[in-house]
Amino acid sequence: MTYVADPMASILSGYAPIEGVYDELVDATGRVRAHWRPFINALEHLGLQELAHRADGVARRLRESGVYYRAYDRDADQAWPLSATPVLISADDWRVIEAGVVQRAQLMEATLRDVYGPRTLVSNGDIPAAIVTGSPDFLRPMSGKPPVDNRYLYFYAVDLGRAPDGRWWVLNDRTQAPSGAGYALGNRIALARTLPETMHDLDVQRLAGFFQAFRAMLTGRSAPDSAGVCLLTPGPYNETYYEHAYLARYLGFLLVEGEDLAVRNGAVFLRTVAGLKKIDMLLRRLDADFADPLELNPGSQLGAPGLAHAARAGTVSFANALGSGLVESRALMSFWPRLAQRLLGEDLLLPNIATWWCGDDAARDVVRARLDDLAIAPAFTTERGGLFHWGATRTAELSPQDRAALLARMERRGGDFVGQELVTLSSSPVMTSQGFEPRPFQLRVFAAATEDGWVVMPGGFCRVSSRSDPLAINIQRGGMSADAWVLADGPLVYRSLLPAANTVEIRRAVGALTTRTAENMFWLGRYLERADACLRLVRALATRAGERDPEAVAVTDRLCALMETWGAIAEGDAEERSAGEAAAEAMQATDMFGAPPVLVRRALHAASAIRDMLSPDAWRMIKGLDRQLFEPMDGTVAETLDRAERALRELAAFSGYAHENMTRSTGWAILDIGRRVERGLAVTRYTAHFGLGDAGPSALDALLELGDSQITYARRYFVTASPAAVADLLIFDEDNPRSCAFQAEHLRALLDQLPESAHSDAANVLRRSVVLLEATMASRSPGDVDIAFTDELDAAFLHVATSFSALYLADHADTP
């Protein structure tokens, strides 16, 4: 049966709710629900065509907001597809949800305090011991030592679904390291740009106040002389890493990885280029088991040894505490009503899915009797031990063999399983090419602890099914996301995350620079500059392809030789490979460590580890360069030349961008040190190949071209190139931004900007390396540049780089 939703709403014509499902938009009589009417009217006013046009921009806006999603099986970044229409939640519904979520957060907290503390729930018989011990998130080293203030949870998320009777039900609890709040924020920003007037007219509740309250809670518990609140991430290979980076930037927290942390005498420190800085509050997005290889998962390379001890000693708080994941267990679902009574003296305000834990013989008998009506799922948070490879499964869909195997396993180890009532979700409109269609969804709601109790984010992250099947169990795969608009029933108070003007402290340098970030900055600079140097060789070769003149051939032979030395092309016989072929080979090589595509890919890897330090524009530039260099090519000379020139232009654009738009922070200085060292090395090596002794006009021309100095030279001398004049320009001229002298001068200035180090020996070595570089340059005049000199200069630049690394990037066994 097709409902005509509202005679006036022609954009809804053909909208047909799914049989037996609660529809958010229209009621059982086919009328648009009251809280949707202003929204539908607004869409009607816009028209379908305009809406479709705006919807096309949603993906782009989402990308601009910087929240990306990385699927594990792909290397590419993917935007999470976002529905152009939100799910509207009425003020009445929201009051129910808000109260229920606050209560549930309190219940989770109280349960954790008991289970890691006095264990009265177990000894009183409220829950069997196996409910606790079966969870892989029951972290025994954390037992008996409560966290700071006996607080386990700072952030909580819960997945809700609305049943056909209109009630909201809890599907899952998330307490380990709940994800999605950053996506919700990104979705909101993207949708606010898609439907700005509509959102404003509807009095949609804003999200900023929630994040502000959360930030205040964490920063309020971090001492002023510490490194500040740090967000601990597993790193760029995690599927929600972009959310971590996004939230860190939005909340003004430093994004750190386990490598950045050092534990000394039971306290946690941040390893920075200025030495160790104390950390007392970590917003944890790393699963707790991976936090400490010494006491938790010994195979983890993502944490830091000693973190569990520091947490027990109370020198650091984790938000959420190590071990908080315990209360995510499905097995606990069947006990929450009783625990709510026991711990809070209240009934659950939001019911959760009816669940039977099969470790109890009576419950197992119920499940066996109703097997085909239920879903069977692992009792604890994760699948484990190969015992159960189905995940949550509708028993009716199992093959006869799997069904028999399941029954046999339930007989021996019932406690590994729960039976759960199948949940039918409600649906909300999604725009398709056929107009609006109802799609089932579930809503993730977030709550944050504050000093005055729990606050709930007025909004959420909706996961919308790509099909019309309303069973919650089937929503896991595919699908899209939607913003949730919580409608206010009174006037809105606007709050932005930016503090009021009179409370802003003027801070110049934001946060500390971690050793790991410094290392990635350094290598980003080096790889990009090295790629630039190599692309210049490629361009010089490609423009000389087909030359027959012996002097020109001698130049191309040398270009090839230099590319071989740099590892840009395989070593080979010059006779067998033309200049054009060699140039094309370098542009296509993906396994040569010195080839431009490989160098840019390494730069991209370095950049991806420091996403929070780079602006979206800077990131896009590097990403675009990488994409361009990995596009397939035919390998013609014209194409090679074109691609090399384009890449050089993009590198120049990045340099210009970094020069004009990046704050002159320590991070910037280190990026520039990397570039200066590489440029000094490249020019020295160009000179060694093309500028020594009896270099002829062709070689000197090539050298000026590689050194980007033809125009300066021509304007200065008006004559054919001479070795001494070229050497002066490329090595000794402090005004030429490509010269070695220019690099040396800048290196000294940049190193002066870096924080002082406590490691006086290594600091002296670095100081002396710059003096040595300058002394090397001063020891010769342009007239007597020879191979011994270029070798010395080469070594002097390298010595600066290794001394810098030894001082600022090495692992010092120091104490604060």
């Binding site: 011991a129 606790v132 025994r140 010494l294 109890d360």
Partner: protein
């Protein structure tokens, strides 16, 4: 029996390690039938401080950091221990194994000794259908738990080859079971995987064996290294009973216990996190001699 235990473990790194963090679990436990009269650990290079502690399962730990560059890490343990442990008599009555299983899953204790900690897969011991089916042959319906456990222990001893070259500390019970060979760790972990697959609680015990047998008795396997065996929960009356599948015997006063955990990962004598590149070479020597 009184014993003197000497253990020396040295690890050599290919390249110098700037710092290392370590936890040792080498101190024999004190219990109703085991007493530690002397105990000392020596570490090279010496750490600034050694923190003595006790983990969740009641095993004594020494935690320390070495904060200077080093190529070799050595720890030496000496201990004097007195034990009068004896296995239960062969005719001890015991409940049917299914009753034990039911009681374990309903356990409301939750303390360290609760069988509920030892019912589930753990870091190294996952559950495996093949091992569970193997174990099931010893557990026909209604069989007394002690008889079933003894039968499984003897079958593993008979079916598996003791072979020090076949496995290492990271070998999973699944791999050891497929090869039907290994050392004490593998024998114990296969038995544990089988018991847990049937829904029964089983723990991994780490300890020492006397090196030279009493006159007229055969030398036990694993006597020149650290040893491991199984402890199985046999209901609230009998509690935890030990089984040594490597030697097909119920441990008595030849076995000295350090402690019990869910598998090797819980009781490893040394866990270290070091920053180094290249390989490490480990050598361990153990000697357990009777005193007087």
């Amino acid at each position: 029996m009184k014993y003197r235990i000497r253990m020396i473990s040295s690890t050599h790194y290919d390249t110098s390690a700037p710092l290392g963090s370590h936890v040792l679990r080498v101190r024999p436990r004190t219990s109703a039938n085991q007493r530690v009269n002397a105990f000392a650990v020596e570490i090279e290079p010496p750490p600034a401080e050694i923190a003595e502690g006790m983990d969740f399962f009641g095993i004594a730990t020494q935690t320390f950091a070495i904060e200077k560059p080093h190529e070799t890490f050595v720890f030496r343990v000496t201990a004097e221990v007195e034990t009068n442990a004896s296995p239960p008599a062969a005719d001890t009555p015991s409940p049917a194994w299914e009753d034990v299983r039911r009681q374990a899953w309903a356990d409301a204790d939750g303390t360290t000794a609760s069988p509920a900690h030892f019912l589930f897969p753990s870091r190294i011991v996952s559950l495996d259908d093949a091992i569970t089916e193997y174990a099931a042959h010893s557990f026909p319906p209604g069989r007394a738990i002690l008889a079933a456990l003894g039968d499984l222990m003897r079958r593993i001893h008979a079916d598996f080859v003791y072979d020090v070259d076949a496995t290492d500390v990271t070998t999973t019970p699944v791999a050891a079971f497929a090869a039907r060979r290994g050392v004490c760790q593998d024998f114990a972990q296969v038995m544990i995987a089988g018991l847990r697959g049937l829904g029964l609680p089983a723990a991994y015990v780490s300890g020492f064996l006397r090196t030279t047998p009493p006159p007229g008795k055969p030398r036990l396997e694993g006597a020149d290294a650290m040893h491991a065996w199984v402890s199985a929960w046999c209901g609230p009356e009998l509690g935890w009973i030990d089984f040594d599948p490597t030697n097909a015997m119920l441990p008595g006063d030849s076995h000295i216990t350090i402690g019990a955990g869910r598998d090797y990962a819980d009781v490893a004598p040394e866990i270290g996190v070091i920053v180094t590149y290249g390989k490490q070479a480990l050598e361990v020597a153990v000697d357990v001699s009777p005193l007087d």
